[in-house]
């Protein structure tokens, strides 16, 4: 097991390397650069800027120096936020983003799994239709629509929660709407996945055996069905958690959450190369690590899986 984990961890390195190489090339291949403005900078200013940030070097030199710096923990300067380093920007926002992501993840799991279980146990009955209706809406509604609707209804009309800002546990009411908005899609996703998985388990021999042995309904559901039905659900939880803790552009933008999620999109528009690289690597690393965690968890939750 330990050997397996070590091998998988070592595999993450080439994966990240390839991701960084592709991102770096695409980013520099895209037309435009960090110094494009509607009010143009003078040619000499652009030359000075390129010199200052090392952008006049050949592209492979730039890549190597980026790798070298990153390995030493230096993510470089931001071209857009002139007085701040990328390290600074990431360090400033990642706590908030991860906090929001974990809250949304917990909410999704706590609501999504029971919703799916109930739907499956009352298959083709009213609760199933209700739960399916809710999750279809959750899947089909773009998050910016849901976020704005929440904002207009709960903040403007009812005035229960502030429209913007984030103060963590110091002011928990600032966390409510972003958390709900961020978890709507995952709740629906988890519910649908759980329902499908539960329905499949219902037809399994061991469930029929348990029923024919006359076990209590509750213990069949909890011990034999849910436990087995959740194995495939765990598979999607890894990437989901990676997605949630690295931040959502839309939710952070609409609710003005000071996280790093906004930079995924804004840094690309601004050709802020250092920030683009940092965000991509962060997301790639989160996906890689959490997929590994899921695979390791399998060994514990599914007796049929053993790593050597």
């Amino acid at each position: 097991m330990l050997g397996y984990i070590i091998r998988r961890v070592l595999w993450i390195i080439p994966v990240l390397f390839v991701v960084s190489l592709i991102t770096f090339s695409l980013m520099h291949a895209a037309p435009g650069g960090p110094w494009d403005r509607e009010k143009k900078l003078s040619a000499s200013t652009i030359a000075h800027l390129n010199e200052k940030y090392g952008l006049s070097d050949p592209i492979h030199i730039q890549y190597l120096s980026w790798v070298g710096n990153m390995v030493r923990g230096d993510l470089g300067p931001s071209y857009k936020y002139i007085d701040r380093s990328v390290n600074d920007i990431v360090a400033d926002g990642i706590g908030t983003t991860a906090h929001l992501g974990i809250m949304a993840f917990l909410l999704s799991v706590i609501l999504g799994i029971p919703l799916g279980v109930i739907a499956a146990l009352r298959h083709n009955k009213i609760p199933d239709y209700l739960a399916t209706f809710v999750s279809v809406i959750g899947i089909a509604t773009p998050s910016f629509v849901a976020a704005i609707l929440l904002l207009v209804f709960f903040s403007v009309t009812l005035r229960w929660f502030p429209t913007h800002g984030w103060d963590g546990w110091a002011e928990p009411d600032t966390m409510v709407l972003p958390t709900i908005a961020l978890s709507l899609f995952p709740i629906a996703q988890i519910a649908r996945f759980t329902r499908a998985s539960m329905l499949e388990v219902t037809r399994k021999d061991y469930v029929r055996t348990a029923q024919s042995k006359g076990l209590r309904e509750r213990s069949i559901v909890v011990v034999h069905m849910i436990r087995n039905a959740l194995i495939p659900v765990v598979t999607i939880l890894g990437p989901l958690l990676a997605f949630l803790i690295t931040g959502s552009f839309i939710i952070e933008t609409i609710f003005s959450v000071p996280g790093i999620g906004r930079y995924y999109v804004t840094s690309i528009g601004q050709r802020d190369y250092g920030v683009i690289m940092a965000m991509t690597m962060l997301y790639a690393a989160a996906i890689a690590v959490l997929n590994l965690v899921v695979d390791v968890l399998y060994a514990y939750i599914d007796p049929r899986i053993r790593y050597s």
């Binding site: 003078s42 200013t45 007085d83 003005s256």
Partner: protein, 554 residues
Amino acid sequence: MWFKKSMGALVALGLVLAACTSPSSSTEPSGSTQPSASQAPPAEQVLRVDIGNEPPSLDPTQATDSASIQVLRSTTFPLAYFDEELSVTPGIADDWDVSADGTEITFHLGDYKYSNGEDIVADDFVYSWQRLSDPREAAGYSYVMADVVGFNEISAIDTATATDAEIDAALQTLGVSAPDPKTFVVKLTHAASYFVYIATLWVTVPQKAGMTWGEADGYVSSGPMVMTEWNHNSNIVLEPNTNWNGDEVKIARIEFSMIDDPAASLAAYEADELDIGGVPTQEIPRIQDDPELSAQVLEGAVLSIYYFGFDMKDPNGPFAKSKLLRRAFSEAIDKETMIATTFSGIGLVANSLVPPGMPGYQADEFIPYNVAQAQADFAAGLVEAGLTEADLNLQVGYNSGSNHEDKVDFLVEQWRTAFGVEVEAVGLEWGAYLTRLNEDPFDIFRLGWGADYPHPNNFLTDLISCASGNNNMAYCNPDVDALLLQAAVKKDLGEQVALYNQAQELMMADAPLIPLRFGQRFTLIKPWVQNLVPTSQDSSTGELFYYKVTIASH
């Protein structure tokens, strides 16, 4: 149960992360920065404004964007400033003399201090202006120094090969000096009447070596307000600068939010969490129909223009070859209907470049809307260019995703109706679009321009003179350039305006661009905000004089 265990682990992880993030939030004074939803708006003297995003830099030398400028206008003070009508008034300089030949300006400084109590002296301007010109800083607005003696030589330095000592030595040749602590002298390469406007810009404010700009801690202000909090990506708080020696500061606190999303920003205004609110174009009709909100709307001119340029860079292009074709494509546009339908009626028809509210505005129509004339000019233009309709294959370019689609569609439709010509609309992402304009512009392309300072030089010389980097049309008429230079030398504003008008008339006769719309603000102001001073120079309503605002009880 594995499930319970892993849930327990997740909860624990959540708590750890919560613990990690709490120190940063607990350093903020609780309750003061985040308006609670249920509480009524505070009656204390607090002004709450959205700046839209994290300011990229509050270093006055480096700031180029509206969010940063919106903050800097309260935390810095330049040599000269504006009154409510945008006439130039004394700033840190009590007055100034211009030498007989117009090439030397001597500023006489008043008694001002930084927020840390240090005196503001002439050397601080020498340092600041040298820093703005320093090629190692590569400041976006360094070009405003272009008329200062020595600047062009300094900016030509190749920073890849020059040593720091060489650059430092070169900076000493910049035409700025401080003969005594109260006197600051600028030497210009030629007489430039507009130069005093350069001394009103946020980039030319005083600073001392060693000042830092990245955090609230240690941020030194030269203006009426001082920064007391800067929670990145969240909010900025300003409070009065107790060492300020200018007009009385009325507001006790300014809270800048950073709400990226315009719809969310409007929601914050409607929820009474902001005192001044911007309105996304799509929301304008709703606001106009709302009896309560429509009473809070403030409209007024903004010194900006929305235009489409013709590509004259490629000498074989149809618009480079034929002035009549350019006129035809201009005459075919019904600007009034365009503004009514695609700008929700907000904005004024533009028939030339210099906007109303700026000296030099001309009400003349120049190229009136006239489809019959357009068709005649189109036919004659094709002959002039030696082309047939089939040769045209025109494209109109714009930056996508910024609400320009319907404007471009409107133009395409008008050209189709007038000439039976299909102009292809091409939207590109912003960076790609600007690159394309630099390298190989579309036949017709969308752009905008906003004033840095309220003087026609900023709209004419910077947009249509042959050498200007912002002249994307590559339009070049030496007669226009000559008039612009003559205008710059004149001391009297009336004489300047007469010459700028002549230049603009010549330019409009050549029709290198289609002016479409002058900017107009559509801002919501809460009824309790009093003494707000909006000027047409503001990119954010009232930003030049936030410190004078008072809040009525409500």
